[in-house]
């Protein structure tokens, strides 16, 4: 079975060489005085056009985008070790060929997202030991409620994290080969957790749960199943930078941004979706689905029921899929109730086949390190294919067993979800109030672990460069790491994502004080 080769050129020298040959011959004509005025003007114009074309095709591809599953990415140096081991460390970059796929991401990271994370790692803020360090606001991690889990562990797992109770250390049933898509009891536990996290408006069915090692592979597996290499998904923008990697990299599915604007509070409009779909069709690009995030990342707003129905109608009319990434569903803090795409699918009998949901425990349950993701689909064929593909991204049974005991404690889970939401809400209120005192506003949001901050008045010039200048000031002068909107494909410059769940309350004034300096220095002179 062969796939159509990637659209990207395999060797960067091929295209211009062929183009070059086509130009050299007529050029000779001009040089020798033949061809005259027409060729004399046509050729330079054509050359210019080809030069633009060449430059466009070889502009470096989007750098390796931020990961849900990475916090360190700079591999420019492998640490050295002594004497004999040096021979081992001294590997070579070698002449043996590496695939086009590999080449595109082996380049060093220039992405602001990674640079920021590295700076935090090199110089992390600590109230006592490093009060001038960089404060991390660029990672959507939730540290607010880990103590609740620690408490539960103290009460229930006296000895070992491996398990609960007398048979805690028994390897029976966990060490041998198990279904790659998850233990049945774990699927039940996940289905129950999803039901609780999403407000019990939908009852999730364990037989539709496919377990993967994080939401990252869940999305990639779905991409492999729903679209062929070269097809496309429509994605409301700004969007989570990791999508570029999860969907485009190996599965080769293109992402067509559907731009949302501040005048609409960055809400998705069906008109914009229609336009994007039609334009794609004109270009000959086959759209296979829509990818929505709900609650949205980086904006933090939620899609209401009407919009979800409209989206399903839109998808039905064009016979395409809907992937709803609901990983932040349990991390809501606004007054709106979260509505899952599953609720819509449940109510519309005939159309479920096109609806698929992504979930995981990295955000709502604060355990990104445990690597737990879920594909939830209403399509039997997609489930069948996904289950087989989980062999490449499966979750350790030891981890599943531990989590089963935790997640089955219904009372604990309900308490956890409730308390967690309250804490996110308090942090959000404090954080937004702090920004407001500086004259800085955020988009109204109701979910996620971050807020979408408007610093557009402070950037100069009003474009991506201005935005990155401000990002740099924030990182290196104010020493706070935030995510610039350009990394999220936001069409309006000057917006930034600030994650506030890695902080504690005491640190908010510190952040605001540092922000203040930069804000003051950037205010346009009257």
């Amino acid at each position: 079975m062969t796939r159509t080769p990637s659209a990207e050129p395999k060797e960067s020298n091929r295209s211009p060489t062929r183009t070059g040959m086509r130009l050299i011959v007529p050029l000779q004509g001009i040089v020798q005085g033949r061809g005259g005025l027409i060729l004399g003007s046509l050729i330079p114009c054509t050359l210019f056009y080809f030069l633009q074309f060449y430059l466009k095709r070889h502009r470096s591809p989007p750098q390796n985008p931020p990961s849900r599953s990475t916090s360190a990415a700079n591999l420019s140096e492998l640490p050295r070790s002594s004497s004999r081991a040096n021979l081992l460390s001294r590997g070579s970059t070698g002449r043996a060929h590496v695939s086009a796929r590999a080449s595109s991401i082996a380049k060093p990271n220039a992405s602001p997202y990674y640079i920021g994370l590295d700076r935090v790692r090199e110089d992390p803020y600590d109230e006592m030991s490093n009060p001038d360090g960089v404060i991390q606001l660029g990672l959507s991690e939730n540290r607010l409620s880990l103590d609740l889990i620690e408490e539960w562990l103290s009460r229930n797992c006296t000895d070992s994290i491996l398990g609960v109770g007398g048979d805690a250390l028994g390897l029976n049933g966990i060490a041998t080969y198990q279904p790659m898509d998850g233990l049945m009891e774990f699927k039940v536990a996940m289905a129950d957790f999803m039901t609780e996290a999403m407000g019990k408006t939908v009852s999730f069915d364990p037989s539709r749960v496919v377990v993967t090692s994080g939401a990252t592979p869940a999305l990639e597996i779905l991409s492999f199943c729903l679209a062929d290499h070269g097809n496309a998904f429509l994605v409301p923008a700004p969007y989570y930078p990791g999508f570029d990697r999860d969907i485009r990299w190996r599965a080769g599915v293109e992402l067509i941004p559907v731009h949302c604007r501040s005048c609409d509070n960055f809400t998705l409009s069906i008109t914009a979706l229609e336009q994007a779909f039609n334009q794609a069709r004109k270009r000959g690009q086959k759209v296979r689905g829509i990818l929505i995030s709900n609650p949205a990342n980086p904006v933090g707003n939620m899609l209401n029921k009407d919009m979800l129905y409209d989206l399903l109608d839109f998808a039905r009319e064009r016979n395409i899929h809907i992937i709803s990434d609901e990983i932040f569903a349990g991390s809501t803090y606004g007054n709106e109730e979260f509505v899952s795409m599953a609720e819509i699918a449940d109510s519309e009998d005939a159309d479920k086949d096109r609806v698929h949901i992504i979930y995981g425990l990295s955000k709502d349950f604060s355990i990104p390190g445990f690597r737990v993701g879920v594909i939830y689909s209403f399509n039997e064929s997609v489930l069948a294919a996904s289950r087989k593909l989980t062999r490449f991204s499966s979750v350790s049974t030891a981890t599943q067993k531990l989590l089963v005991s935790m997640l089955s404690d219904k009372r604990f889970i309900q308490e956890y979800l409730k308390t967690n939401k309250q804490r996110i809400r308090s942090m959000y209120d404090l954080f937004v109030a702090g920004l407001r005192e500086l004259g800085v506003e955020c988009t109204k949001s109701s979910g996620g672990l971050y807020c979408w901050v408007d610093l557009s008045r402070l950037i100069s010039p009003y474009n991506e460069k201005g935005e990155l200048d401000l990002w740099d000031k924030l990182l290196n002068r104010a020493k706070i790491n935030v995510t610039p909107g350009s990394a999220c494909h936001c069409i309006e410059p000057g917006w930034f994502r600030f994650c506030f769940t890695t902080l504690n309350e005491k640190e908010i004034p510190v952040v605001m004080e540092r922000m203040c300096k930069v804000v003051e220095s950037c205010k346009p002179s009257v």
Binding site: M1, T93, R95, Y177
Partner: protein, 444 residues
């Protein structure tokens, strides 16, 4: 009924990708069909003594007790060195760095060194973690080859490669044919011939993938042959992937030669094309833990594999647990030694039992299975007869074994028989059944 059909015609179902509908997952082949038969009628000493005995699953259960004992005696091993589960939790919970825990990589490097009797050194910084060897092999394929390219793999080989290396990657496998005339050893001729075959089909060969010790042969690859394969790869400027997942299951440490040793002996010349895959699923009998690694001597491959491993990370909790266990050198030394010895005994038991039944096996020295020669009793030396025999053994003798054709063996009549995924008693039952089966045939 008719109404339903019309409705379906009006509402075209939403399409899926070629990857989703392809059968490259291979789960319709005999290799997996036998598993289904087993699932429907599994042997149990007490409740189902006439059920199908699973001898098609290469799982190691002979040394479980050693692991259980260790964990019982070292509960703190699982808690990040802290005394309780709670205190070790926070770091694990947030740790999702695709470099993997430093302590875990160190422990893996040390374990791999021990398995090779200290004859090769491994640097923790070249270790990339993946959720199992399956993922490691697929990841390497994505990195080393483009869609339409080819990997050369000596036959017979692990049936799972057809799925793991080809399905999503779009890469082809071109077999390097080996046969019983020289104990299925890889020859230069066979490599060259496979290379030419790929060329004739317009496929660019990107690498050779060997499994050492071999699955399904159950034998280690000799040093001279490894050197030859490396030389071949160098001469064609292609990669060499050595899947050493059974390295700890060689019956004696001295018999297994790793490609790492060869590289070290020649001061790492030409090493940038070599990559080793390892996993704890076989040697430690922990396939459920999903622990695999790629060890590459090529910096670019290490960097790229690390980033790509985002799709297949090992949970920090599992890394933590194994880091503690594998850095306990006293334990690992004892484990490796004992495991080898027990496997050797099992191997002896099955080979002797088969000999008594009149069946020869390839002389093996590693792995969780033996390579059994049933060609003498085939009615005709072809694939159909082999499959007919396989079905007979599955349904009459009630043993699920793996036919050589599913491993792409060019000679019909060979079967892989696993012996480590059951108790000694069960193995005896299986041998008795084979014995009776062969007797019945002789009488006829």
């Amino acid at each position: 009924m008719a109404i339903k059909i019309i409705e379906q015609q009006q509402q075209p179902s939403v399409g899926l990708s070629r990857v989703a509908v392809s059968d490259t997952h291979g789960e319709d082949s005999p290799y997996f069909a036998g598993w289904k038969a087993y699932d429907q009628d599994p042997y149990d000493e007490l409740t189902n003594p006439s059920g199908v005995i699973q001898m098609g699953l290469a799982e190691n259960q002979v040394s479980f007790d050693l692991l259980e004992k260790y964990l019982e005696e070292h509960p703190e091993a699982t808690n990040n060195g802290s005394s309780t589960a709670a205190s070790g939790f926070r770091e694990n919970a947030l740790f999702q760095d695709y470099h993997g825990l430093q302590s875990f990589r160190k422990a893996m490097a040390s374990f791999m060194e021990q398995i090779r009797g200290g004859r090769a050194k491994f640097s923790p910084d070249r270790i990339v973690i993946t959720a199992g060897a399956t993922a490691a092999n697929e990841l390497l394929t994505f990195i080393l080859a483009d869609p339409g390219d080819a990997l050369l793999i000596p036959t017979p080989y692990y049936p799972g490669f057809d799925r793991d290396l080809r399905w999503r990657t779009g890469v082809n496998i071109v077999p390097v044919h080996c046969d019983s005339s020289n104990n299925f050893e890889i020859t230069r001729q066979a490599l060259e011939s496979a290379y030419k075959e790929a060329e004739s089909k317009n496929m660019r060969v990107r690498g050779v993938l060997i499994t050492n010790p071999s699955n399904p042969l159950g034998a280690t690859i000799k040093r001279a042959i490894l050197e030859q394969v490396l030389e071949f790869a160098t001469s064609k400027n292609i990669h060499l992937v050595s899947d050493e997942i059974y390295s700890g299951s060689a019956f004696s440490s001295g018999e297994f030669v790793s490609i790492a040793e060869i590289l070290e002996a020649r001061n790492y010349k030409d090493s940038e094309r070599v990559h080793i895959v390892y996993s704890l699923s076989k040697d430690l009998g922990l396939p459920g833990f999903r622990v695999g690694t790629i060890y590459s001597y090529n910096d670019k491959v290490v960097t790229t594999a690390r980033r790509m491993s985002s799709f297949t990370l090992i949970s920090s909790q599992t890394q933590q647990l194994l880091a503690s266990m594998l850095s306990d050198r006293k334990f690992t030394e004892m484990y490796i030694r004992t495991n080898r010895e027990r496997l050797r005994q099992r191997y002896q038991m099955i080979v002797d039992g088969l000999k008594n039944a009149g069946i020869q096996c390839l002389e093996g020295n590693a792995g969780l299975f033996c390579w059994m020669n049933m060609s003498p009793i085939l009615e005709k030396p072809n694939r159909e007869q082999e499959l007919a025999l396989w079905e007979l053994i599955l349904h009459e003798v009630k043993l699920n074994i793996s036919p050589g054709s599913s491993c792409h063996c060019s000679e019909p009549g060979w079967f892989r028989v696993c012996f480590a995924n059951m108790s000694e008693k069960t193995l005896e039952v299986a041998l008795t059944r084979i014995h009776h089966f062969m007797e019945r045939r002789r009488v006829r």
